[in-house]
């Protein structure tokens, strides 16, 4: 795209009209007026349409092809969700409408909340958080409030495996905790000894995602939970990987006390180029009084909003990313009980299938079996050819797919983290495997070609260092 919408601005252009104004224009006191008008784009409707249509055509979504971005669960986003979220009976409702005039919205939230509690094995839920990280902050706030209320101010440490997503430690610090990093064992799961060593009186919580970011199920989870509970700590479940296990095992049953879900991952709501998502927080009943309010209750008179007794307070104005919740509800209604489990099974099947095709060539440091995703290490390849995870990723762009997550988790060198999700067909997986294997070959025979990749995209690799050194952050 040549030029921003601001550069396309021409004085006096407009495509905007309003009805004739039948009231008198009033004046704003001089001293309250801004000096000059904001320099917003002045464009005709056709220019606006072409500009953003062109930008869309320089973007890649799940609808464009395979998007195996590990940890992000880029599954297909059903179109029916968009239709549901566009209903004027949902979009044209004020968040502070009298409850009796918003029963449909409350029912949607209440119903979704109930389904999510069942799936997670939790007792109560708030749909307020807007994303996973927001949910983490919220859950940790609840833990903090609970520990405070039960006289455990000394509990200030949150343990986080070194394989965890960066949001976990960052959220813990935001919630006023000290973070203790727990090294992973050689097999990629929590090192029980290290955990034991870190646990103590000061332990507030352990944050864990299960399966973890290596795509491995923490099979000692019961023991882990016991150890943490033993010292009076709580267990936080990062629900980003719930897609692997829904219908198969439940965080609540594994011993977790509080968790978030990512509706934009597990529950098929679209990612929107980075949001809006939704990160509901679910918990066991002893933490329910601490949930951020309002939560939805069902009474004989209908649905209503309620402030939990010891609520940590709102973490967001109003009732959460409501339209995202509507999409997730549509998804769960479509799948039903059996579909939820089927999704998890096939997510795991797809990942294992792809892993089986790649592990003969690429180094799969944690073995040949995985849950819904797996991590390869390109360290050896990098050493022998100079071609690392980033280069292979860029090569994949030229082959028409979105690259996997790279350089995460941090504990794997030259990591490439692949999550196909259940909504991919075998042909797509076969084609991806073929592309990956072909690039491996290219790395050995013609590494220069890969270092120059991508060549078919609107731009080549941007100079990121220059961007950070000399930031140009507005047009």
């Amino acid at each position: 795209m040549k030029g921003t919408i601001f550069e396309k601005s021409r004085p006096g252009r407009s495509g905007f009209t309003l009805p004739a104004f039948d009231c008198e224009y009033e004046r704003i006191p001089e001293q309250l007026l801004r000096g000059g008008p904001p320099l917003l784009p002045e464009v005709a409707e056709v220019d606006l349409v072409r500009h953003y249509t062109a930008l869309s055509r320089e973007s890649f979504g799940v609808d464009c092809g395979f998007y195996p971005l590990g940890s992000c669960t880029m599954k297909y986003n059903p179109k029916i969700g968009e239709d549901a979220a566009a209903l004027s009976g949902f979009t044209d409702i004020h968040p502070l409408q009298p409850e009796d005039s918003a029963q449909g919205c409350l029912e949607a939230l209440g119903t979704l909340g109930g389904y999510l509690c069942e799936i997670t094995g939790m007792d109560a839920i708030s749909l307020q958080p807007a994303a996973g990280a927001h949910g983490e902050f919220t859950g940790l706030s609840m833990i903090k409030a609970y520990l405070g209320a039960t006289g455990h101010e000394e509990k200030k440490k949150v343990l986080v495996p070194d394989s965890a997503h960066g949001t976990n430690p960052a959220s813990a610090v935001m919630a006023g905790f000290t973070v203790v990093s727990i090294p992973s064992a050689a097999d990629g799961t929590v090192d029980l000894d290290a955990l034991r060593g870190a646990l103590g009186e000061d332990t507030a919580a352990l944050m864990l995602t299960n399966p973890n970011t290596l795509g491995l199920f923490e099979k000692n989870i019961a023991a882990v939970a016991g150890m943490v509970h033993e010292v009076g700590g709580l267990l936080y479940y990062d629900g980003a990987n719930l897609n692997a296990v829904m219908g198969i095992t439940r965080p609540g049953d594994m011993g977790f006390d509080v968790m978030h879900l990512n509706l934009h991952k597990t529950f098929a709501t679209p990612h929107g180029g980075g949001g809006p998502g939704s990160g509901p927080v679910a918990c066991k009943s002893f933490l329910a009084p601490y949930l951020p309010g309002p939560v939805v209750d069902r009474t004989t008179q209908g649905f209503c909003l309620r402030q939990p007794k010891h609520s940590v307070g709102r973490v967001k104005a109003f009732n959460g990313n409501f339209l995202v919740c509507v999409r997730a509800l549509a998804y769960l209604m479509t799948l039903g009980a059996a579909g939820v489990r089927e999704a998890a099974e096939n997510a795991v099947l797809n990942a294992n299938y792809l892993l089986a095709k790649l592990r003969g060539t690429y180094d799969a440091p944690y073995g040949g079996r995985c849950m819904h995703e797996f991590v390869l290490s390109l360290e050896q390849l990098k050493k022998s050819t100079g071609i690392g995870a980033t280069d292979i990723a860029k090569g994949l762009i030229d082959l028409g797919m979105h690259p996997p997550t790279v350089h995460f988790p941090l504990i794997v060198r030259e990591a490439m983290m692949i999550e196909p999700t259940e909504t991919e067909s075998r042909e797509t997986l076969d084609a991806a495997a073929e592309a990956m294997l072909r690039l491996y070959e290219t790395a050995r025979t013609d590494p220069g070609a890969l270092r120059a990749a991508p060549s078919g995209s609107p731009v080549g690799r941007p100079d990121e260092a220059a961007a950070a050194r000399n930031p140009v952050l507005r047009g």
């Binding site: 309003l18 009231c23 008198e24 704003i28 309250l32 007026l33 000096g35 500009h51 320089e58 973007s59 979504g61 609808d63 239709d83 004027s88 409702i93 004020h94 502070l96 069942e118 799936i119 994303a131 990280a133 927001h134 960066g166 960052a170 813990a172 935001m174 199920f217 219908g247 198969i248 439940r250 679209p270 990612h271 180029g273 980075g274 949001g275 998502g277 940590v312 307070g313 104005a317 109003f318 409501f322 549509a330 769960l332 039903g336 059996a338 939820v340 489990r341 999704a343 294992n352 860029k394 762009i397 979105h402 067909s425 075998r426 731009v459 100079d463 950070a468 952050l473 507005r474 047009g475």
Partner: protein, 441 residues
């Protein structure tokens, strides 16, 4: 159905390729005692037709009012058709955060444009790509300026209750103090602020307009804050910024706010969009994503996510931000909305808000018992007294397909917070006034 392409036969073949004996086998790492036995207690699968029918019925159990007089943080403006059409392009909707720049130039450029827009509206130098909502933006801004030496946040008692609550949550959890300074005649008092300012205060937060719709003296408040070495954060209604003095012009250090009025429907509260912008010097303190312009090897302009040293995936527990997914599609929506309206359109909308609100205030306050609660310039909301039980008033108006202003408590007693946007008409106000007359008679 679960949107799974593979057929049962294919699944078997694929299973074979993995070396597993069965689906169960794939889950062998999950200890048996943790396995969920049987089916979850969810309804059975439903067809698309059933799902959409059920959801239409559910939506039908909400009342969509023809006429709105309620705002209080969520506003109904007209959304040009083109906004929905463009923001619903599948490539935008189904992409994720643009980690791979080369395949995401469209989205990155749209973020860059959004940042430009926010800088233009607020007068600030640097905007991030947006946060969860306006209240969250306020909380993040205060957190941004807090440190060990200055752990205290002061907020005007006139800020929206929702913002206040979220500020409270964030401060409490992080162990920051939060205090509210009082108001006089509905406006934050810089005198009262000064009394509370000391070297423990990291920043002061006020809203433009405030909860009662009134425009405060942000210049005075800012001077007071700065005099005490504290930063000033102003949370503005973005449409008001088309005409009102900007946070930058008042000298603010951070401008935040709720961008919902810029093309997002009220939608029972979300998704909305928090905007955040700061002075250049504070760029590296901003939480959230930031897009920047650079070049590729061929010298072509290219956009990337930048200044990532702030972020959780780089510095983890040392990050100044835990934000990962934000509200990207909302930021795109706001950008398209503002480009569709243009500076002229946005100004026209703002002037209609102001003018209709003034007309409404004059007319409503002339009805016996509905006198104005406060004096001073207001943008598109104002508070009147209410001589009857607000619930009764709400019902009466609802019968006439009108969403009543919000019943509120103020330091001067209970009242109604009325809101007007360009969606309202003189005629609606006249009808409202007639109904108020009947109620108060």
């Amino acid at each position: 159905m679960s949107y799974i392409p593979s057929t049962p036969e294919e699944r078997l073949e694929m299973l074979g390729a993995t070396g597993a004996q069965s689906m169960e086998d794939l889950f062998s790492a999950v200890p048996d005692h943790l396995r969920f036995k049987g089916l979850l207690d969810l309804p059975p699968a439903a067809s698309e037709f059933e799902v959409i029918s059920a959801l239409k019925e559910m939506a039908g159990r909400n009342k969509v009012y023809q006429t709105w007089f309620r705002g209080a943080g969520s506003y109904r403006h007209y959304i040009p058709s083109v906004v929905r059409h463009l923001a619903s392009r599948a490539e935008f909707v189904t992409a994720y955060t643009p980690y791979q720049a080369e395949i995401s130039q469209g989205i990155l450029q749209s973020i860059f444009e959004y940042q430009t827009l926010i800088c233009e509206l607020t007068g600030m130098d640097v905007s991030n790509a947006g946060v969860y909502d306006g209240a969250h933006a306020a909380a993040e801004a205060c957190a941004m300026f807090a440190d060990k030496n200055r752990p205290k946040v002061l907020a005007a008692s006139t800020v929206k209750p929702m913002t206040a609550e979220v500020l409270r949550t964030y401060c409490r959890v992080a162990g920051r103090e939060l205090e509210f300074f009082g108001a006089e005649d509905g406006k934050a008092s810089s005198a009262l602020l000064e009394q509370m300012l000391d070297t423990s205060v990291c920043c002061v937060y006020a809203e433009q307009p405030n909860f009662y719709g009134l425009v405060e003296d942000y210049g005075e408040l800012t001077r007071a804050a700065h005099a005490a070495g504290a930063k000033m954060v102003i949370g503005s209604y973005p449409i008001a910024l088309a005409v009102l003095k900007t946070p930058a012009e008042y000298g603010a250090d951070a401008a935040v706010g709720e961008a919902q009025p810029l093309g997002m429907p009220p939608a029972f509260g979300g998704p909305y969009l928090g905007y955040m912008a700061v002075k250049a010097a504070d760029a590296r303190k901003l939480p959230g994503r930031i897009a920047g312009a650079t070049v590729d090897a061929a010298g072509r302009t290219a956009y990337v996510l930048t200044l990532q040293a702030r972020e959780q995936h780089i510095r983890r527990e040392k990050a100044s931000s835990n934000i990962c997914s934000n509200q990207a599609l909302c930021a795109l929506t706001a950008t398209v909305y503002c480009a569709a309206a243009g500076p002229g359109g946005l100004k026209e909308i703002a002037m209609r808000c102001v003018s209709l609100a003034r007309y409404a205030a004059r007319r409503i306050s002339a009805v016996s018992g509905f006198s104005m609660m406060f004096e001073g310039f207001f943008f598109n909301e104002f508070v009147t007294r209410c001589p009857v039980d607000p619930a009764k008033l709400e019902t009466k108006l609802a019968e006439n397909d009108m969403l009543c202003g919000l019943p509120v408590q103020t330091e001067k007693g209970a009242g109604i917070l009325w809101c007007l946007t360009e969606r309202n008409t003189k005629d609606e106000i006249d009808r409202l006034v007639r109904l108020l007359g009947e109620v108060s008679a």
